[in-house]
Symmetry: C2
């Protein structure tokens, strides 16, 4: 991602996913790209910002908690989550937050 | 930052700052480090995660909206914000969000 997500007026929701990778790729790169593609096709998806350098911070934006719940339950995404826990991350944190205000330049 | 912020049980607040830098340093690196140091000394500061690679995503965590407001009004931070608008960023977005739930590995 090399641009700022073009989100609508708040309120909307953010999923802040912070992670530390294990060594080696072991299928991670392909799956990470696929998950961005798949997320962006979900109902209620509003945008995504993702950067990794040492730690990774990925913020995805959603219309509602329901949309986030559906995305978490997506079958292909569940398999990625499983591999994330077993193979790709030494640690991660997911934070679900309600965006109340935004401004910018 | 190379670790995941050790935040308390929700609810708490997140400031998601996504930005695109101008070319050249022009004092940015020193100020960015100083702002992390200064933020971490503020009352109500809970932690910070920051990554830049093309775009930058910095998420800082706070106890309350009041703590965020005080940080925004900090004199030294205001000067950094001014230089950010004039010199360091071609674009940025600030999103203020209430973290309602979190989980991790």
């Amino acid at each position: 991602m090399t641009h700022i997500a073009n989100t609508p007026e708040p309120p909307y929701y953010a999923v802040i996913f912070t992670s530390i990778r294990t060594d080696g790729d072991t299928g991670y790169g392909v799956m990470a790209e696929r998950m961005v593609e798949l997320a962006s096709q979900q109902p209620g998806f509003l945008g995504l910002e993702s950067v990794r350098d040492g730690i990774g911070v990925t913020v995805s934006y959603w219309e509602s908690l329901e949309a986030i719940k559906r995305w978490k339950a997506n079958v292909e995404h569940r398999e990625a989550q499983r591999l994330g826990r077993s193979d790709w991350y030494t640690a991660y944190k997911v934070r679900i937050a309600r965006v109340e205000r935004d401004y910018g330049l």
